[in-house]
Amino acid sequence: MARVDIDKLKRIVGEENVRNNPEVCYVYGSDSSVHEAFAWAVVRPETKEQVQKIVRYANSEKIPIIPRGSGSGMSGQAVPVKGGIVLDMKRMNRILEINLKDCYCRVEAGVVDDDLNRALKPYGVFYPVAPASSRVATIGGEIANNASGVRSVKYGAVRDSLLGLEVVMADGTLVKLGCCNRVEASGYQLDRLMVGSEGTLGIIVEAILKFVPIPKYRCLGVANFNKLEEAGNAIAAIMSSGAQPSLLELMDNVAITAVNKTMDMGLPDVEAILMFEADGMVKEAVDHEIEKMKKLCEEQNGFGIKYSYDAKERTKLFAGRKKLFPALSKYKELYSCTSLADDMAVPYSKMTEMARMIHDIADRNNVIMTAYGHCGSGCMHTKILMKANEKGQWEDAKRAVSEIYENVISLGGTTSAEHGIGLSKAPAFKKEKSDSLKYMKAIKRALDPNNILNPGKMMDAPDDWVKATKLRYNVK
């Protein structure tokens, strides 16, 4: 372990913002993924100048530095796999500017998504990325992972809401990337390079984001399907019809069973449920979209279709989907809900095929898997439910993950739609991007020659994700 000069760090950020006692380093050594490691020290900067000083120090001593938001990442991006200084960005949480004339806001990296939307709401606008973790996810973390969520089908991912960035590079230099304008053709789009870079190319300290008007009308519909294929066909039909859903979500029968079993939600016993939503400023336009999607669902034998404009009713209709992730964690005694191959994207026309494959793979490998997700953007989530305390189950999970990704690639999909690569998905990512890996590595070397920025992740992560770190379960 390289020696971290704790006193030096304390001089930069103040004594109360540096800790290196074991329990703190242990807590900051894990996130929402299956991985865990020990940090060497945890530092909480409050200004970009402090970040610059810390990075300069880490670079001079070749100490790894791992930026961290709230640690809600599911792939191990914030796990200090090679030790080092964890940079907790949550104190940099100021909303610096809400510019209504020029339609942008400027925020520090540690601002929490929901806090930003609370600040924007009085002005009738919102930042639409909306990952499920919006109540804890920080803007910096969202950008670093190119996050998205249920409304990505209409509003896109972080990259679609990002205008500009301020980033501390590996040598401590502060650079401005992008700008506050909607368009820019001034050379390389380096702000975009930082999107999805998972802290490996620079430390994001500030961002300029677009916002959009809060729609006056929002209508959510639900349709049931006796066959998964029919729900899949409905998704493809909706997306190819020119309809503009603001949300299009699928739940398979494993997901439905999980929610009913643990939350007593009373969802119908069907193979699939599709949720569709439209929003806008004119009610007739929203009506038109909803009617169109309803008709397409009916054409694919969708039944029991309900929809509502009422906010309370919509919350009720969506409750099953909203509570799905925690429901899965309580699905079966001693089974853990793990995020492994959990956010691939495939073309719309292949979604049903992918969902069926997921079920077959689960059966073959002695684990339980569900298929659900933001199908309007092609994103399919799976959670692998397994006895995480049993060593053999990790071999099962490893095989299942490998088979899933083989299928994802053969269907023309991609490894990660919104959670990022980190450690868990690195092997699949390396296969998928085999022809461009050398360019990614060249970029990394050019921007971070001492390899201090979140080292050992993405293309540099181990090929065996199970052995990449100690697992956060009591594996016997």
Partner: protein, 185 residues
């Protein structure tokens, strides 16, 4: 150290999906901002103790005793983890192991205490009792929920607890001043 009470949770701690939804509901985290002070952070620590990756020490024990059982994390936990029940077992184990930490629990200055028993009758959590043999007021640090009733009721100023979750009034005043300056700007 044997975790007599805590070890029954060993295979259940993984039910926490580490979503972090407890962060915004935890007062201690809101004051300190350290993830290690969140319910999620404390659950991770307890897992570390059970797995042997962490060794119990005063700092760790102090953190566990900072939780004063408001149960907001229990109410909002998306995976319905029995957070405060787990913390209660951890507190019992740490006390059994001899850790003399207080966290946010109340204490009694024996020199000032007149043994009037007002604090005993005031305590709604039945955490305070009179130890006749040693002629002193005893606080059950597992039962105490740091409500402050005893501190407010004590006529001698003998009952006390950590102010403002670890901040002195002076430090709190400074924070308020800094906040107001920020608002004014």
């Amino acid at each position: 150290m044997e975790f007599r009470n805590l070890k029954k949770w060993q295979d259940k701690l993984h039910v926490c999906i580490r979503c972090g939804y407890c962060f915004e509901h935890c007062h201690i985290f809101k004051i300190t901002g350290w993830e290690s002070d969140t319910p999620r952070g404390k659950l991770i620590m307890l897992y570390g103790l059970l797995s042997g990756e962490l060794k119990p020490d005063d700092l760790l024990a102090e953190r566990i005793f900072e939780c004063y059982m408001c149960k907001r994390c229990d109410a909002t936990c998306s995976a319905k983890v029995e957070v405060t029940e787990i913390f209660t077992d951890a507190k019992n184990d740490l006390l059994e192991a001899g850790f003399d930490v207080y966290g946010t629990t109340s204490r009694t200055d024996e020199d000032k205490c007149s043994r009037c028993m007002i604090c005993v009758s005031t305590c709604i959590h039945e955490a305070r009792s009179y130890d006749k043999e040693n002629d002193r007021i005893v606080v059950d640090r597992v039962k105490c929920q740091s409500c402050g009733c005893c501190v407010a009721a004590c006529p001698s100023g003998a009952a006390y607890s950590k102010e403002g979750f670890g901040l002195t009034y002076k430090e709190m005043s400074k924070q308020v001043e800094l906040f107001l300056e920020g608002v004014a700007q």
